[in-house]
Each structure stands twice: as C-alpha cells, then as structure tokens.
C-alpha cells in the first residue's frame, strides 16, 4: 500500500516539475526544482532523468533544463483533433439522420481500424453496441477501404504481419482473395462487408481524402442485415459518397483529382 501511495506522488511531482516552467521562468536547475516542489535533490533527480529521457525536458549546456518537444507533440494532438472533430461531426450527424443507421469516421492505426466518432441512429434496435472502437482491418468495410488505398507495399506488409483471422461467417481469410477484394474496392471506390465481422451485420464504407490527395479516413455505415438489405446497397453507397466528398473538400482535398 505504501508503495502505491509513493507511485502516485512520483507522478504528481513529475507533473508539478513540468508545470514550474512558464514563459517568465523557462529554465530551471535541479536544485531549484527540488526546492520548489519540495523534494530531496536525489528524488528530483530521478524524476527529471525520466522526463528528460522521454523528451519532456531538454538539457542545456549549463546543465539546466527547459521544456522538451514531447510537450509540443501533445499540443499538436489537441489542435489537430479539435479541427477534425469540428469538420466531421456535423457531416456525420446529417448522414446518420439521412440513412437512419449508425455511422462512423475511421482512421487506420497499425493493423487496426479505429473510429474517431460514432453517431448512433435513432432506431430502437441497435444490435451493434458491442462493436468496439478498434477492429481488425481485414473484415470491416472501413478497414478494407483504408487498406485498399494504402498502396501495394503497405498492403503486402499488412498481409505479412497479420493473420487473417475469421470473425464472421464471411470473413476473408485467404490473402489472395483479400488482395482481389481490395483491388475491386479501389476500382469501385467503396467497400461492402456482409457478415465479415459479425453474423447478421453489414457495413459499407467510402474513402475520405485530405489536402495531400491521399486517403486518410473512411466514413462507414453499420447496421443489421434485416434493415440494410442488398437491394438498398447502392442507395447507401451514393449517400455515403456525397458525405465523403463534402468532408474531403473541408479537409482541403481538390475535387479535380478523382479517386479510383
């Protein structure tokens, strides 16, 4: 128990050390930091060494410290995120309303697809609350669409690194089949996954591009097979593509460069 209490205080003290740094007092020596936070010099030294190693503090030539660029990276995350939230949320809300199903905006991370936002539909039966935030890429429509636009090398690396585990009745587990499917997705500009991750569940996704012209996100709609029937797939695709174009434009994508 004692050890746990100590752990907490070391974190608290580490953060207090960081917060000593201000525009007026941007440079601190070890002794001053220890004094101000109320630590022995050796404890302060240990915490400072950790913060230094992780890039939160940088050491000057005179042995004193200033804040490191790791903090800047955290700042960048906040601002980048706020902008993405702002741009995509209204579009997703409108789309969920129009389709009457749950929609997501997804990005690729490692070998997984992660959704940044989910806007729930107003349907009384939401079968899909158990679908997690992080899903394998090969059996979700968003994952496949993001993978399809990654380029040949990235796809090959993905296939080398990942076993195509079976999740639903229709999961594609053969690498050759997946490659064919990805090529088809790129040609047609959308992907549909019927019962590839969960039985009775359909998802449809389209790519979103940003100012670089590259595909950086995917918008997907997910729902039960009973409601999202095959004869309506083309309607879903068209509606998704409309929203995709709108968001891509907001992200700085130039319309004249057509996808796929």
């Amino acid at each position: 128990m004692e050890k746990r209490d100590y752990s907490l205080s070391s974190v608290r003290n580490g953060m207090k050390i960081l917060r000593l740094f201000t525009a007026d007092e941007p440079v601190w020596g070890v002794t001053e930091m220890a004094e101000r936070v109320g630590l022995s010099k050796s404890s302060a030294h240990r915490l400072i060494a950790t913060l230094h190693k992780q890039g939160y503090l940088e050491r000057e030539k005179n042995g004193k410290y200033r804040l490191g660029l790791a903090l800047l990276s955290l700042t960048g995350i906040i601002t980048a995120q706020t902008e993405l939230y702002r741009e995509s949320l209204p579009i997703l809300k409108e789309l969920a309303e129009e389709l009457g199903e749950t929609v997501h905006i997804n990005v690729f991370e490692g070998s997984h697809v992660v959704y940044l936002h989910k806007v729930e539909c107003k349907q009384p039966v939401r079968l899909l609350s158990d679908i997690g935030k992080r899903n394998p890429a090969h059996c979700s429509s968003a994952g496949k669409v993001l993978l399809a636009y990654q380029g040949q090398e990235a796809i090959c690396r993905f296939l080398q690194k990942n076993e195509l585990r079976s999740y639903g009745p229709n999961t594609i587990t053969d690498p050759e089949d997946l490659l064919d499917n990805l090529m088809q997705i790129k040609r047609q500009g959308y992907s549909i996954a019927v019962e590839e991750m969960h039985e009775g569940v359909v998802s449809i996704a389209i790519p979103v591009s940003d100012y670089t012209g590259g595909v950086t996100a995917a918008i997907s709609v997910v729902g039960p097979l009973q409601r999202m029937t095959e004869n309506r797939f083309s309607v879903y695709v068209k509606t998704l593509q409309k929203s995709g174009r709108k968001l891509s434009e907001k992200l700085g994508y130039i319309e004249s460069v057509q996808l796929g």
Partner: protein, 251 residues
Amino acid sequence: MRFTSLENALRLLDLLSVDEPELGIYEMAERLGIADSTAHRLATTLMSEGFITQDPNTKLYRLGASVLALGHVVTGQSKLYTASKAALQLLVNQSNETAHIGVLREFDVVYLNKIECSHPIRLLSHLGKRNPVHCTSSGQVLLAHQPSSYINAFLQRGLEQYTSRTITDPAALLKRLERIKEQGFSFCEEEMHEGASSLSAPVRNRKGQVTACVTLAGPMQRINQYTASKLVKLIIQTANEISKQLDCAGR
C-alpha cells in the same frame, strides 16, 4: 519490462494520439499492461494536475489544458520559433502551401512550427509530430548536413519502407544526401505518403551549422517537378531570412 509510475504516466499521455484522442480506463490499462486500479490511480493523478481531462458523459479521457499551456511555453521560448514566425507566414502567403519548421531530435524530424495554407485541414502532420528522417524532405536536408558519424549511426538503424518510392538502400540515400548538399534543397515525392510531396531548405545558426529546415508539403498535384523551381526559390529565400533573424537574435 518494468516501468516506474512516472514512466507509465508519460506512456499514458503518449497513448492519447491524433488517431485516438480519447480512451477509457480499461483500454489504457490493457495497452500499458498494468492493472485497472493502477491505471485509474495514474489517470486521477494526471487529471488533478490538469494533464488529462475526463468527458463527464462518456467517461473517456483526453489531453487537458495544462498541456496546451506548456506547449505555448515551448514555442514562446524557442529562439527558432520566434525568429521564423514572420518569414514562415510570408512563405505561406506567397506559396499558398502549408509550411513547417523542422528540427532533428535523436533520429527523427520534429515539426516545431506549422502554418496552414488556406486549405482548412491536414491530417498528415501536426505540431510536434515526429517523422522518419530518410523519407521526408525535411529529414533528408537535415541529415545531409550532419557529421558522418551521425549519418552512419542513423544508417545502421535500417531504412524502413513506407511507399514504393522510399529509399531503402543506404548507398542510394548517401548519394541523395550528396546531391541535396550540392543543390541546397531537398525534394521528396511520395517517399512517405502516396500522393504527397515536400520541399525543404536548410536554416543555419550563427556558426553556419544547419540546425533546422523550412519545409513545404502538399499534394503532388501542386508540388511537383513543374512547380518545384518556383517553390524552391521561395523556401531558400525563407530559410536564408530565418538564418539572418537567428543571427540577429544571437547578438
């Protein structure tokens, strides 16, 4: 591997990335390989110091305002940031592309400043983002001007492939670095992201050492071999202006 509590706290902050800005306590515990109760204690402590905050409805955690404040301290304090701000803005106005100031940290390039062009958003880079050195124009121009001991140490780490155009052969990279030094700028097309290209020029400190770079990045439709010569002129002008400002600031 065992981590101290502070290390785990910093690892927890690192989990909150651009791709996943919000996480729940169980996810954080799982990713860090620690007990739920430990994660909870870490989160509570970080929250009490303002480094993370919790959404009252979803109970998910995200980075807090303290981080923003400290980020301002970093940029406000940086001579390079201050000396480059005006010139970088001018470059964005002239080129209508997104401009960055890059510096080396260990074996990555980090963006110390970034000014957007009129396109409202970008997903590939953000302030403080760390990028690989060998497949970005910023990394290459900085690497080209490092001592050979640094370059050799870097090459020994291996050159990871990002696209079909990434240079993965050390000899080919060395050749490229030589050319960059001769021509005074670097130009990368699709070496890290398909469809994206960038141009960089070196910034020098008072002693003439290359300590930073100016970078324009954007889609290949706009930054390509046809537009490069005009843009190169602008970034070299900007880089020289920043070098001059740094020189003045140092006096």
